[in-house]
């Protein structure tokens, strides 16, 4: 079932790649320069790294029937804290640790609102979504803060053959997959998402589980925020991670995890994030006019979602079957 749901995102990704090759024949070319891999596809991976990372955290939140709208704001906060600290003469390592600690606190706050106070996730995280960016603005005093730390720059712009950013994201994805699937955590998360009441009565520690996934989502958002700001060696409280929560949620949904909670697929999420990122790149390479980019993006996403829906699958199946069943029905009516 999960596999068939991933069919259309795969088709979409392939179609986008073909489209790109048609427009730019050199699109798939890769070259190694100074031990770094370069090419358009590598760029897609590097630019998509923050989205992948945030989408991984979002997947677990969505699996518990929640949603986290605050990830973009948390990303902006992380970048602002790190850059402000470095600009004030602090070391990059301390800056990173400081930023991530604050993100954990923000995740604890979200998790507290949802799991202890029982506030609807969409409302609970909306608080931080709006207030968080305001906080980041206060911190940076509304300025774009640029830093000159080569160590800090490595996170988002560095290379270990592949961009370091994508290596971090993939490592987290694999680690989470192993952690949740090799232990019982994944199953318990899904159980809480499908039927919280039944899980509670079965003795599942639902509150802790829900709390933890929000902390994890915030941590992922924090690292993603560091990647974004490090890539440009600057913190832009206004624009860093803007709308990234939407991309992440879309990636999760395209990847086959239902917003109603329950079964999740991290592989699907990765695929979904790649579709979104390739789409964003394609919009530029094929020269879609800037004022219609969002509409174009929306159309592709709607198409994928429509094709994925169970209803469409049913219709397609009936289409395929119909010639046979019409020829058979008269006999049945007679017998």
């Amino acid at each position: 079932m999960m596999r068939s749901r991933l069919l259309w995102p795969l088709v979409a990704l392939a179609a986008l790649l073909v489209l790109n090759v048609a427009v730019t024949p050199s699109f798939l070319e890769l070259r190694i320069q100074d031990g770094h891999l370069f090419g358009s596809t590598v760029d897609i991976l590097r630019n998509g790294a923050p989205t992948v990372l945030i989408a991984v955290g979002m997947t677990l939140v969505v699996a518990t029937r929640g949603i986290d709208l605050s990830v973009g704001a948390v990303a902006a906060i992380a970048g602002s804290i790190a850059c402000t600290y470095i600009a004030g003469g602090g070391s990059a390592v301390t800056a990173v640790l400081l930023a991530l600690s604050v993100c954990v606190l923000l995740g604890l706050w979200n998790g507290f609102l949802v799991s202890v106070l029982g506030i609807q996730p969409i409302i609970a995280t909306l608080v931080l979504m709006t207030a968080g960016r305001g906080g980041a603005m206060l911190l940076t005093e509304g300025q774009i803060i640029t830093v000159k730390s080569s160590l800090y720059r490595e996170i988002g712009a560095g290379f270990l053959i592949l961009p370091i950013a994508i290596l971090i994201s993939l490592a987290v994805l694999v680690a989470v997959a192993l952690l949740t699937r090799r232990t019982a955590l994944g199953m318990l998360i899904e159980a809480v998402g499908v039927n919280p009441m039944a899980s509670r009565l079965a003795g599942v520690h639902s509150r802790t589980i829900i709390w933890t996934v929000y902390v994890f989502a915030a941590l992922c958002a924090g690292v993603a925020g560091l990647m974004i700001s490090s890539n440009v060696s600057a913190a832009d409280a206004n624009n860093a991670g803007l709308w990234i929560e939407m991309d992440a949620i879309l990636a999760v949904v395209i990847g086959g995890t239902s917003l109603a909670g329950g079964r999740y697929s991290l592989a699907g999420t990765l695929l979904g994030a790649l579709v979104i990122q390739t789409l964003t790149t394609t919009v530029y390479t094929i020269g879609v006019p800037a004022n219609v980019t969002l509409v174009f993006k929306a159309l592709v996403v709607i198409a994928v979602c429509l094709l994925q829906s169970p209803r469409t699958a049913q219709l397609l199946q009936k289409r395929r079957k119909s010639p046979r069943s019409t020829s058979r029905s008269p006999e049945v009516a007679a017998g």
Binding site: R182, T183, A184, L185, M187, L188, E190, A191, V194, N195, M197, A198, S199, R200, L201, A202, G203, V204, H205, I209, G262, R263, S325, R328, S329, V332, A333, G335
Partner: protein, 501 residues
């Protein structure tokens, strides 16, 4: 309905089944768990579309692709799993989609008044403005029936409407069914209670493994014959579980002692002790507080007075997790809302409680999981016998078996079973009663709750009787009999009246 087949990926749930339902009759659809009864009903009402076959309604061929169409055509249905909006009020649930209107909006007062009338018709006196979720599953079932009765239907379909009702409500329902039958309504009725079927049904159709076995008149088929038609074999274990209280005199230490435990509005403070190796039955009419009592012991609801002593440790129950840690297990009567994790596999559902007790970091070893799952699939005859099957695709009775197994494998010291045989067929019911008896013999304490008095009396060493949310009697030894329990129900003030609230 002719030649109906319904297929799901990998399963043929119905093959080539004919079924006819005549006006003015009550037609019982019989079969063991997973035979295809609910599937046939859903094919009729357009929930599933049959792969082959035709349906005629009053001589006209019909194809419903959505339940709404069937309803519009005069088929009113109560499905096996209560599918109402539990967060809406009782009145809103009954009148949903056909509310009286006034000035372009919904007329709340008229809605409640009309709903109250429909509730009165089935003899239920509850506040129509109360939220549905605040009522026990039996009341929710009655509300679903009231909703089905609200439309003037020519066909009324009732899939296990009586599975959690007491004798009194069943009588009330039958009275209404008889009236409707006399008016010419065609009624399809599913129940695992043979007594009920023989009392009300004019004709019976038996399904087995998705195939039609035959159509019979109750007069020409004895119970034994009916059971073997359903199971395809003779039933051996049915009489094995005997009253056995005399056999043992549990003098063991009490596993649990409740003193003055109570919760305002749910149950008056009560005293109760349960000893190792003992089955204590809990009897009471609808709304007497059976489930409420059980939930207090487990900590699913907070007690506001009294103490609970478990294995010598006293305190107020703190919640399901700590109860489980103390060796108490609670199998809820509301399997859809409080038991089934629909999207997960049978295996995950079965090991859920065991896994939760071990904590997330220590997964139940694959081999252990496979062994216990296989053991209980066999022991309780869970079908399909596939640990990877998705829970929501199982028939109601089979889901119930999985939930029972979920708790049995945790080997609790005290097992609280709230309606454990709800929706379970005759064969499996005897099997489950036997399992309960065996566990007690091994030293487990069991609190057994059931609306079916015969069953409570059969399995229990001791019966606690509740009335109007108060413990009124405790019967032991030879006093444990259906007649005696009934007389306590009725006893001092037989006219105390009101049913659930």
């Amino acid at each position: 309905m002719r030649g109906i087949s319904v297929e799901f990926p990998g399963v043929k749930a119905l093959s080539d089944v004919d079924f006819r339902l005549l006006p003015g009759e009550v037609h019982a659809l019989m079969g063991e768990n997973g035979a295809g009864k609910s599937t046939l009903i859903k094919a009729l009402t357009g929930v599933h579309s049959p792969t082959t076959g035709v349906i005629h309604l009053s001589g006209e061929r019909v194809t419903f692709t959505a339940p709404g169409q069937a309803q519009a055509a005069g088929i009113s249905t109560v499905y096996q799993e209560v599918n109402l909006c539990t967060n809406l009020s009782v009145a809103e649930n009954i009148m949903l989609g056909r509310e009286p209107r006034r000035l372009g909006g919904i007329d709340g007062r008229a809605t409640r008044a009309e709903a109250a009338g429909l509730l009165a018709r089935i003899g239920l006196t509850i506040d129509p403005a109360s939220i549905l979720a605040s009522h026990p599953i039996a009341v929710q079932q009655l509300v679903a029936i009231a909703r089905a009765l609200a439309v003037e239907a020519q066909v009324l379909v009732l899939d296990e409407p009586t599975s959690s009702l007491d004798a009194e409500e069943v009588e009330e329902l039958f009275r209404i069914m008889r009236v409707l039958r006399a008016e010419g309504v065609a009624i399809l009725f599913v129940s695992h209670f043979l007594d009920q079927v023989y009392e009300i049904a004019d004709r019976m159709t038996v399904l087995r493994n998705g195939a039609l076995i035959g159509e019979y008149l109750p007069a020409e088929l004895s119970r034994i014959e009916l059971v073997s038609a359903m199971l395809g074999r003779e039933l051996g274990t049915l009489h094995e579980v005997q009253r056995r209280s005399d056999a043992r005199h549990p003098r063991a230490e009490p596993v649990l002692v409740a003193s003055g435990l109570g919760r305002t509005g749910a149950i008056e403070p009560f005293d109760l002790d349960i000893r190792a190796g003992e089955v204590v039955g809990l009897a009471g009419l609808l709304g007497s507080g059976r489930t409420e009592l059980a939930r207090l012991l487990f900590g699913a609801d907070r007690a506001d007075t009294g103490t609970l002593t478990v294995n010598g440790q006293s305190g107020r129950p703190r919640g399901p997790r700590s109860a489980i840690a103390q060796g108490i297990a609670f199998c809820s009567e509301d399997r859809k809302a409080e038991g089934v994790v629909a999207d997960l596999t049978v295996r995950d559902n079965l090991v859920l409680a065991m896994q939760a007790a071990r904590g997330w970091a220590r997964p139940v070893p694959r081999r252990t999981a496979e062994a216990v799952v296989a053991e209980y699939i066999e022991k309780l005859d869970i079908r399909p016998a596939d640990p990877e099957a998705i829970m929501s695709t199982l028939s109601g009775g089979n889901q119930q078996k999985v939930l029972l197994a979920r708790w049995l494998i945790t080997r609790p010291r005290l097992l609280i079973l709230d309606e454990p045989t709800r929706g379970i067929d005759v064969g499996a019911k005897a099997q489950i009663q036997k399992v309960v008896a065996d566990l007690a013999a091994e030293g487990m304490a069991v609190l057994f709750i059931s609306a079916e008095l015969e069953e409570v009396v059969r399995v229990s060493d001791r019966v606690v009787v509740l009335r109007d949310r108060r413990k009124v009697a405790e019967l032991t030894g030879d006093d444990v009999s259906v007649d005696h329990v009934m007389s306590v129900f009725a006893a001092p003030h037989a006219h105390t009246g009101a049913v659930a609230s």
